[in-house]
């Protein structure tokens, strides 16, 4: 079920009560919460539950094997083999559901260009929601057991609880086992829930998703970027910037709601966004955008590849490879590969150039503004690849933006662009520069309200969000990964 729905609100009330009432009964609590999470997942398609259950069992067994065959902290061939088998199994499941069609189609098209005519069988499977997220969590878990970061594998119920935990199941943050194991074992004080912070995050996320993201999508982004050639360069440019905000509001809104829900249940997830459009470099952007994914890519891909310890060229190679695979993680399409590569190239370029501006002797604020402009615009231009249906579609958008192709004279300058959309886009960019402490006073005031007033405020907020948003909730962009 999607977060901003009545079904989820009802489900969450039940889960909340079950969580706190059963928390003293550790075994029962984990069992019931795991079942609730499976129910949450099965709401989309009951067949998904079998897949998640398979992932839980498979990774539990892998971790046990890895642990058993890795004596002490030393490496062992059996332990390595168990690790490789576990990772391969996870990647194989992901490959079947997510990448099979893409790779087989691309490969046969390439081969058929040489004159052959292959037609391999193609699976037609539904992509299970969130599979990329929980597969990555499972992989990090067995690697952590192998590395000894987790001294022992989690017990089965702990692991089942962790991997299926519904706030983070379908769209992250990618929480690691090391971050959850203690939180599962230790019972938080039911008299002291960070409620105002949690409710603040949930309402903020709701507004980001239901109001900002949906409005921009329906008003400007979808109609214009769906048919770029029928809109003016001005509108396409505005839509591209609006998309930059849409995807941020969409994904960070989901994360806010996820973190808020987890807080109410007594869990604190790692932060996933830290004002990403404030970044002064693309590397900085990745320290602020989908932080739990960047962290994952760094620890389980970039560093094992050698990180930056192998010299200049190896570092570039590692950056490119990491970002390319990071791009592919987002979806099985060439657009994502090019998007990842673009980010990798930009990061390599930044690394190669170093802190060149220091020798210029220009005012620091001017440098900072310049770097911010470059970064923000690069990231926004790259999002076009993320949004486009194909590379040709992306090219079409770029062409209209930069007016390589003259728009038909009959296309009016403004069809979809509204003042509200422009203001919303600018305000959302501006909001990145508001320090997070600015909301502190507001949150404190909320926490001082008596419960009845708080309930009224919450009800009014829910109503306002529903009224301001379009009817129905557009799917979250990040659900498809």
């Amino acid at each position: 079920m999607l977060f901003p729905t009545v079904a989820f609100a009802t489900f969450f009330c039940v889960a909340f009560l079950a969580n706190w009432l059963l928390r003293p009964h550790h075994r029962l609590w984990r069992l019931v919460m795991t079942l609730l999470s499976l129910f949450f997942y099965g709401w989309w398609d009951y067949r998904f539950v079998a897949l998640l259950a398979l992932a839980i069992v498979l990774n539990h067994l892998s971790a046990q094997a890895v642990h058993r065959w890795t004596p002490g902290r030393g490496p062992s061939i059996a332990g390595q083999a168990a690790l490789v088998a576990g990772i391969t199994a996870n990647l194989a499941i992901l490959a079947v559901f997510k990448y099979y069609g893409f790779f087989v189609t691309s490969a046969t098209n390439m081969v058929n260009r040489t004159g052959l005519n292959l037609a391999p069988p193609l699976l037609e499977v539904t992509l299970p929601i969130g599979i990329s997220f929980y597969t990555f969590q499972a992989i990090s878990y067995i690697i952590d057991v192998h590395r000894g970061t987790l001294r022992r594998p989690m017990v089965f119920l702990d692991f089942a609880f962790y991997l299926s935990f519904f706030p983070q199941l379908v769209a992250g943050p990618i929480v690691r086992a090391t971050e959850m194991v203690d939180q599962i074992r230790r019972r938080p004080d039911p008299r002291s829930i960070p409620a105002s912070e949690a409710l603040w995050l949930i309402t903020l996320g709701l507004f980001k998703k239901v109001v900002i993201s949906s409005y921009l999508a329906k008003q400007l982004v979808d109609p214009v970027l769906g048919l770029p050639s029928q809109h003016s360069g001005l509108e396409v440019t505005a839509a591209v910037y609006a998309y930059s905000i849409q995807i941020y509001a969409d994904f960070s809104g989901y994360t806010d709601m996820a973190i808020g829900c987890a807080l109410l249940l007594g869990f604190r997830f790692p932060q996933n966004f830290n004002a990403p459009y404030r970044a002064q470099s693309v590397s900085d952007f990745w320290r602020r955008w989908h932080m739990s994914l960047s962290r994952w890519l760094r620890d389980y891909l970039y560093l094992p590849l050698g990180g930056n310890r192998g010299g200049k060229w190896l570092t570039y190679r590692n950056l490119l490879l990491t970002m390319l695979l990071g791009g592919l993680w987002h979806g099985a399409a060439f657009t994502f590969i090019v998007w990842g590569l673009a980010h990798g190239l930009m990061m390599s370029l930044e690394r190669a150039m170093g802190e060149w501006w220091k020798s210029l002797g220009v005012m620091p604020w001017a440098i900072a503004t310049f770097r911010w402009l470059i970064t923000f615009n690069f990231v926004t231009m790259a999002w076009v690849l993320f949004r486009a249906e194909s590379l040709a579609h992306a090219l079409e958008i770029y062409q209209v933006m930069f007016s390589f192709a003259a728009a038909p004279a009959s296309v009016p300058f403004v069809q979809q662009l509204t003042v509200v959309a422009v203001v919303l886009t600018l305000a959302a960019v501006g909001s990145h520069f508001v320090p997070p402490t600015a909301t502190r006073w507001w949150r404190w005031e909320i926490s001082r309200l008596n419960p009845a007033m708080l309930a009224v405020l919450l009800a009014v907020t829910l109503t306002a969000a529903d009224a301001l948003g379009p009817q129905g909730v557009a799917p979250f962009i990040y659900f498809q990964f």
């Binding site: 969450f12 997510k98 657009t335 249906e389 662009l417 009224a467």
Partner: protein
């Protein structure tokens, strides 16, 4: 010397080894107790802390610290009194949540009732109506529904009907909604509560934008048919086609009757493209293809989860009457039916698909719609349902296609049936997700749900649709220009 995994920089990004630490994960959550081993004998997992910075739960802490440990500074403390916390007990939070939900339910009872009534006939819907119906009565009696109505009015949206209509839409085809971000992946299926009645603002081609059709008092159930204005471009003004480039086309453009006249760039053919969510992948391609003819303006208006089965949910005949009159439409391209193989009410009696009464009623509706359009001098291209992956569903759609064809036969001069099955199936006439294009490239033409079209699929259908229009109107070909 850095190790492969250096957890001391958990917050650093890829290609970056020095950044500040992530905040303690359990920040703000206080701990009552660990689960002692006798409560949780299987809780044997231990977290090895490579640095004691990752988690504050260091096993070396004293018991006292462990039992009552506020982990780090709280996010929001009273600025004047830092010892006060913005926390609440689980009991308070559950009261606030349940209270807020009940109040929100009352405030939004109208909207919720309408959404419930818009689900498929069956026990689920009965239960939902049984819940929301009385609540709506209470809300109306106590004036709780007034604020939402005022809000909707202030936002320029039609208030939900106070007298609920008893029906709903379906949902085979409620797939990709208005998000066009889906590639080879799957968007989450929309649940009944997420069915928007407006999928996106009408896309425009050429020189004018659609302004929202206004509710017409005379039109039956017009309230239900009015799109939410939030989806409408607020700046769009129906401008005239005068900005179209004047060409020296010698063709006679004075004919006002659609039949026989040759559309030109200065007097383009006015086409309206409508449908349910299956039009999502196709509409943009049709608009593009028509645009290339240089002598047509087209509007796209598709509504997901709609059809002819549930006029109580979305009344296409009334909507079309208003829209075509406003646009002075000459040709209507439509694709409806994917959602229609479901029960509907005939004289307040639920009538199951497959019964004689169902078929005769549906047949009548198809006939009436065609009669309405042709009476208004419009010509119609009716796109039949394509091959569907699900066998049972495919059989139903085949039956509907037969009804469409038989009813269309009564209007030989002004309605064409376009059968998409021959081009959309494999060599044996079966469903296929992939087709090989002229260049030998394998393209995914259907979405993974086995129902909807991808943009590539739209590109396959669009030329056929435009050819079908040429069967009715002498629309110039691009090469004739």
């Amino acid at each position: 010397m850095k190790t492969f995994l250096d957890l001391s920089d958990t917050n650093a990004g890829i290609g970056d080894h020095a950044d500040r630490l992530s905040p303690p994960l359990s920040d703000g959550i206080s701990i009552v107790s660990d689960y002692p081993d006798d409560v949780s004998p299987d809780a044997t997992t231990e977290l090895v802390l490579p640095s004691n910075k990752l988690s504050p739960h260091d096993s070396r802490q004293s018991d006292l610290q462990r039992r009552r440990h506020h982990l780090g500074p709280l996010r929001a403390a009273d600025p004047a009194n830092p010892t006060r916390r913005d926390t609440a007990s689980a009991a308070t939070v559950s009261l606030v949540m349940i209270g807020a939900l009940l109040l929100a339910a009352l405030l939004n009872a109208d909207v919720m009732y309408r959404e419930a009534s818009a689900s498929e006939l069956g026990p689920k819907r009965d239960i939902a109506l049984g819940f929301w119906g009385p609540l709506q009565d209470i809300a109306n009696d106590t004036k709780f529904s007034a604020p939402r109505r005022s809000l909707d009015t202030a936002l320029g949206r039609p208030a939900p009907p106070s007298e609920p209509s008893p029906l709903s839409p379906p949902d085979f085809a409620a797939g990709p909604a208005s998000q066009r971000t889906t590639r080879t992946t799957e968007t989450p299926p929309l649940g009944p509560t997420e069915i928007p009645d407006t999928s996106s603002p009408p896309m425009t081609l050429g020189s004018r934008a659609v302004s929202p059709p206004t509710p017409t008092g005379g039109a039956p159930r017009a309230k239900n048919a009015v799109p939410r204005s939030g989806a409408q471009p607020s700046t769009s003004q129906p401008s005239t086609a005068t900005s179209a480039p004047q060409t020296s086309d010698p063709a006679n453009t004075t004919t006002t009757q659609p039949t026989g006249r040759i559309p030109t760039a200065s007097d383009p053919l006015r086409v309206l493209v409508i449908g349910d969510s299956t039009m999502d992948g196709v509409g943009a391609s049709v608009l593009r293809e028509l645009g290339e003819s240089g002598a047509a303006t087209a509007e796209l208006d598709y509504r997901i989860s709609t059809g002819l089965a549930r006029p109580d949910y979305f009344d296409w005949p009334s909507h079309l009457a208003a829209l075509t009159a406003e646009l002075d439409t000459e040709v209507v391209v439509l694709m409806l039916g994917a959602n229609d193989a479901q029960p509907f009410l005939v004289d307040d009696e639920p009538t199951a698909y497959g019964t004689d009464l169902w078929f005769s009623t549906y047949r009548e509706r198809v006939h009436d719609l065609l009669q309405q359009l042709t009476d208004a001098n419009m010509q119609v291209v009716w796109i039949g349902q394509s091959v569907m992956r699900d066998q049972e569903y495919n059989t139903k759609m085949t039956t509907l296609n037969q009804i469409f064809q038989e009813e269309i036969a009564a209007f030989p001069a002004s309605v064409v049936f376009l059968d998409s099955r021959p081009v959309m199936s494999d060599t044996d006439g079966n469903y296929t997700t992939y087709l090989v294009d002229d260049g030998g490239q394998r393209q995914q033409v259907r979405r993974n749900d086995g129902v909807h079209f991808t943009p590539e699929g739209g590109d396959v259908l669009a030329p056929l649709i435009v050819e079908a229009i040429r069967d009715l109107v002498p629309l110039p070909k691009p090469e004739d220009r």
